[in-house]
Symmetry: D2
Subunit: 483 residues, 4 copies
């Protein structure tokens, strides 16, 4: 089944509890803090099934049609289809919504290629995983994952002095039907717009955290779940003209609180297993497929950033200056580098799970490292090109509502080839991308997208063929001895 | 005369025209977009004359008391007094208000040490400069400078296709009493809170721009002047708890529009002189004294940034991790480096203007370069320490108005040694400093504080003793020849 | 014809004039400054025709066998064959010889795909280009290019005050048979080991430089040509143990002086054409194919660098330290990034010249930019891991010739798991790679491999699809207007 | 007593055992690997007592004259005298000899200000320290310290599987007269040219290393001591013209081996004390005074580097290019920054040891951090300016011995305003500074001058006034509560 945008919006009116400060949001699809972002997701639902995109973005198996991001790839062509599906979805939000509907499904698709991993934890968990994947695929589910524990609460031994103060979600009881979980899970990006959330752990666990290793998917309207949204930037967008990106693309983040929520066994895929709660992502193609999507999403965002850089240069009439061309060239080189790194993942696909052909993990981790390590510098280069443009503009677009002011504004603020309004429009966009609170969240988001810096390093460290590389050293040195 | 804070506030109700979009602001001291920042300036006025600060911050000459930032320094002790005066003022706003009342006065003080420079332009202009300085000093005037031309309009030959479209302020008529000026001037930081603005040029001028070289001081309530404020962040501060810095310290930026404003000759210090309109700042100690203040202001801000870094580490219980200590140590080293660079300016003072002892220019430009080149990286390091803390917190502090929610919040969000509320308070502060729109403006502000990057390089390039340095090379090479 | 290593060495005894300071080198294959590097090239000749490599590295057309780097690619498979050919050659010298026998041939192959470009300059030049390509391919020629003008002499108008002081190679006469050229050409890397050199221009030319636009290939033993070698590091290698890389892999650089050398027309492919002397490389796939080889060569070198980093960490017993793992992980991520960027060039091949399928230029320029911008940092990271190891070792390996000293050395310098000799061997290798004069030349070489930094930026600037990127900005902004 | 250069040279002929590989060096003052550097030290001895320098560089106490670097400072003027003394010494070797005769004496001077620290370890050790200081001062001794343990041997528990394999110097026996020590100590920079070496520990020690905590000074000709020099670059300097810096300024590094050396108690200042063997440097002004010298030494070196950058730009006729001016300006800013940081240490002197006035530690550690963190980038910027100049020059200066070649060389390699020989001379100097093996050692040396990067961070971390900084955060937050 391929949901329409309208069906998607309706499906969100499901009784979920979303809190904005003390306010309980009745309907996220109409609330001024969320409605436009909800429309953006609905737009994705509509477009991915539209005629012009079906060839690529809809796949079929056993007579069932589903979004191509659920396709288990077996060939280079499958990888190219997945790539193009991710790319189009990302392009529709200019890469600004990280947990779009194709992100977690890429995890789920990869996880479901290795049911044996889950059966190792407990026989039957493998079926649970495959069924969950099929459930998502068949029902065109939008789920995102919450796989991080609350900050400041991560040191075993230090935290949780008493059973009542237990910030981190864990199992507090279990019976034949399932488990009861209690506690917080972070960082529910997009949770407000998702049907379900996937609970698990991406960071290493320590002995004593066994009950936190529980892993499952759950609908967000399940009794006992509440979604505590961070400050929503859409709410503070002055107008679309003044904040064109915050207006439509704030995917939101939330703490998700579970107050004694019952999870049936058939939704559980890991329990009481410190190793496997994390390893399932790496030992299956799940982590690789999902972060391949992240690379592509970042790439589409980078296109916008570089495009804005080019437009700002044009608007400021500085494109003839060699140093400015140099900065643009540097940005262009970075864009091409990332694109190359992504295409290389397809060129050098691998059989990570038996019977499947998935993207090259090592290059993907290289690209992931590149993205999180270069985002700040990229933004800083564009800030350099932006100069003080935003600060020279009126406080907001209400200036156009007053004919006399509007005229004065045009008279003094226009430059050759650009009206004052065009310039203001562009600087508003540039600022929303690089200077606004929405932009500030992106600075933080990209830096921590797949974990803190040292984790980014370790992904590449552990995937590096050290024996081959040190073999080169031995090879050289074996050719001679001291005289 | 040393104004009280109350007198200062009253003096702003002077009929000035401030626009917020289409809205004409009646009284900046009470308007929700500006009132707290106005109070912050008033606080500076009160404190600098308070008993505990008078020894340092008030100076006396010919029986007249004035703020020490008007002191023309003649000794190391004078420089130390100026330093401490700037430092205290900066500390009261944590370095977040760049154009505090001691910034432009430092320019004026330096300019007035060299009346001869102005007399070169036109006899009598030297007296004008000295009189303007005395006027400011005697009346405890808060003025700031607007010495940049509108972006995109800076290429002679390209801009101004017709006389009507003239974005850049210039003289359009003159008579025996003075000149008439028309056009825009940027970037009126703090203009909303100033008594007067200083109009001039800090960037190089090209032939054809002679009429733009006009330089003068003018009260901001002069008929024909309007102040077009950029988006004010104070207006969007949710509460002091939620945005403690935007709440009080948004100094604002504005485009200042002059529509046929009459400037009497006695206020003019430069006219029709492309070279001198800029050189007066460098050939006198003006630029050096004002940017020395900027160094000190940045230093006080850096103390807050590093302090927040330390507090975040503590709140997240990660202070025991060597890599985290390393980041803090790196920040601490940078703080000490900058402090050293500033104190060195005092240690190696110089006689830039005959009869005066001013700070070492070369070190000041080095420090200025350091600040604008390192600010982004510093912020990025603290972002790394901040992690996702802000995003894990409720949308706003209204959560504390609901007892049940407040209790749930404490139960799940608190960590050992910190209540949830304390943590939220800290993360709000950290975010306002590094992630909010207020923070985004600071990213741009520090990068361009004293001009774009290449200008920062050139200040040091032109002040470098190249002959001495190349002399070292010659010295070595003179000691030998080819065998 | 595929030359053997022995045939190659013999072919270098051709009467060429190579100067080492004032010394005329009689035979580069036996001289202590060059013999080992000559052997390294001979090794490449032998290995590329060896049984185990023929499948990939030898191609056939019209019954003629030739090195695969002369293959004009028409499919992804051809690009994969070229890639693997370059990779193996680079691996045999650990990427330390930049102008290996497959470098310039890649230019020549690309140039010969577009004879029409040369015919534009002068009818018949197209045939000359194709014939030169065939000559090289058929005779297994090792040629390298000298396409840079002498430093300090590049400003037209400034240089050449008199006709006698003409550092830059140019045509000084022409007749029916050909042209006479005079002057210097840089930077003849590998020239000492090449059969021929290709003379041309990669930097932009200015009016007045028409006679310098001459482009041709010429055997290096042609009368009037002399090769002035820079300081050869092989000559100063203490022993293979002490300098294992300088010992074998110093490809050398030389200024090539032409004193009235006659070049027949059939070898000339450009003359009197400021645009085309440079554009032939960009308008044909020449520049792209050759710099694709450069990417691969750098990649193999990077493998050695990262391998040495891993081995140093092991030798110093610091592999358990998280920060050290982080540095290794960072290096591993960079290695994977570059590999991905290269494979992406194959995945996204393009029809740059009609009828051929060549690598993706844009990604190649991205990778080239990446290499020249990251090499210093990479080396610096490994220096950090290397510490003072080299300095703790004896002056040279003669210590092993004295039994008592050798015993003392083992007693005090060995560590658990490594003899002192093994450690010294490794540190010698690390130092030769990162600290020696050979290493110093590589620092400079990689930075300027394909031109100075601003040229690297411009390659990407000019290949960037700016219209598409700015189109994204227009697309967003077209969706809304001021309220 | 103030030694003459001649006396100094004679004093080195003292029977010391210096090994170059297997070769025992008979006389370091005449051996081709060391003689010129020995002359450079002798030059320092001569100049510091020369008439024109006595005022500053010679101090007097109780009728005794001594080098000012032994002055225990009690005022700003004393600090200024010390600064200028260090600066002149550094300037004579362009900052290229790190352990000049004023380096360790600065440690000793600081240590002797706190005899109480040593008496804590064992009563009487305080007197030993003071006596050692006086001995050095009175006899104008050149000593340097060896306070690092061999690499790879630093993990207790891992190393030293048997008592015979004990790389790290430790006490193996003690009696009433003193201790017997055995093992290696690193990294004896300048040891070859010193009268004595100081043995101790600057890195943290772990339990089990008690016997390694021994700290003492000892003449280098003491029986049982041998000095194993690393590869000497002076030996491989082709000529002064070809390697002007390696020729004269290779201070050398050595492993110092103690084979059962007897140290009398009166020379011992620490024993069996893991804490104090390291803390003596930090708890006294020793570390601060010595690293202040290091800052100044680096500053003088930076002057040469920046001077060479300026000269290269001139020689290449590129000084008119804005981007090149920008790079020079950036370098100039860095030079001024460091100079400022050093002068600030004097401006903000402190009473670290009771009764003395020493430099500001915090700024010194900031500057030290700055130097080790910026040296690579600085060199890289100059490499960018240097281009391929070195590689375009003949192999060595023998070219000038052949009249015909010399003429050809001038004819083709000269540029407007510079003879070919002048250019070669400059490029030789630039290369020796930035590309030679001597330069490679400096890359490593500056990076590790005062320890690895994380140690640099920690020095600043531990000296940072965290309470004050976090107090600012508390101060802000104390001013408001949730609404």
């Amino acid at each position: 089944m391929l949901m329409t945008g309208q069906e998607y919006l309706e499906s969100l009116r499901d009784g979920r509890k979303v809190y904005l400060g003390k306010e309980l949001v009745e309907d996220v699809t109409t609330h001024s803090a969320f409605r436009n972002a909800a429309q953006s997701v609905a737009m994705i639902y509509d477009r991915k099934r539209a005629t012009e995109n079906r060839d690529i973005m809809v796949s079929k198996e056993d007579g069932e049609e589903f979004s191509t991001y659920y396709l288990m790839p077996k060939s280079r062509e499958d990888l190219e289809r997945r790539f193009e599906t991710h790319r189009r979805i990302a392009s529709w939000t200019y890469g600004l919504m990280g947990r779009s509907p194709d992100n977690f499904p890429s995890y789920a698709t990869g996880l479901a290629m290795r049911p044996d991993l889950f059966d190792e934890v407990r026989p039957g968990f493998g079926d649970n995983m495959v069924n969950y994947y099929k459930h998502m695929r068949t029902n065109d589910i939008f789920a995102a994952h919450s796989v991080t524990n609350p900050q400041g609460a991560r040191r075993p031994g230090v935290v949780e002095p008493s059973p009542e103060i237990s910030p981190t979600l864990k199992v507090i009881a279990e019976d034949d039907n399932g488990v009861i979980v209690n506690g917080l899970k972070m960082l529910g990006t997009s949770a407000v717009f998702c049907h379900e959330t996937w609970i698990g752990n991406l960071q290493p666990m320590s002995p004593g955290q066994e009950l936190e290793s529980i892993t499952f998917g759950v609908p967000l309207n399940t009794p006992g779940i509440s979604i505590w949204s961070r400050k929503p930037f859409e709410k503070f967008a002055v107008s679309e003209f003044d904040n064109p990106l915050s207006w439509r693309f704030d995917e939101s983040d939330s703490a998700i609180l579970f107050e004694n929520v019952k999870i049936p066994w058939e939704k559980v895929v890991c329990h009481n297993n410190l190793e496997m709660t994390r390893n399932i992502y790496m030992s299956s193609p799940g982590h690789a497929l999902a972060n391949h999507q992240a690379n592509i999403r970042f790439f589409e965002k980078l296109k916008l950033i570089v495009g804005v850089a080019g437009a700002l240069v044009e608007a400021n009439n500085v494109g003839h200056i060699p140093a400015v061309q140099g900065v643009l060239g540097h940005l262009a080189a970075m864009l091409a580098s990332l694109e190359g790194m992504i295409m290389g993942q397809i060129q050098s696909g691998e059989e990570h799970a038996a019977g499947y052909h998935t993207i090259n993990r090592r290059y993907m981790y290289g690209a992931l490292h590149w993205c999180s390590n270069n985002h700040s510098q990229i933004c800083d280069m564009v800030r350099e090109l932006m100069g003080g443009g935003f600060f020279q503009m009126p406080a907001d677009s209400s200036v156009f509502e007053d004919a006399a002011m509007s005229e004065t504004f045009e008279k003094y603020w226009s430059v050759q080839g650009k009206t004052a309004k065009e310039r203001m429009k562009l600087f508003r966009l540039g600022w929303d991308l690089l200077g606004s609170e929405f932009a500030g969240r992106h600075m933080q988001y990209e830096k921590f997208y797949a974990g803190p810096g040292h984790v980014m390093n370790l992904y590449s460290y552990f995937n590096c063929p050290w024996d081959d590389l040190k073999g080169l050293v031995d090879e050289i040195m074996s050719g001679y001895d001291a005289p």
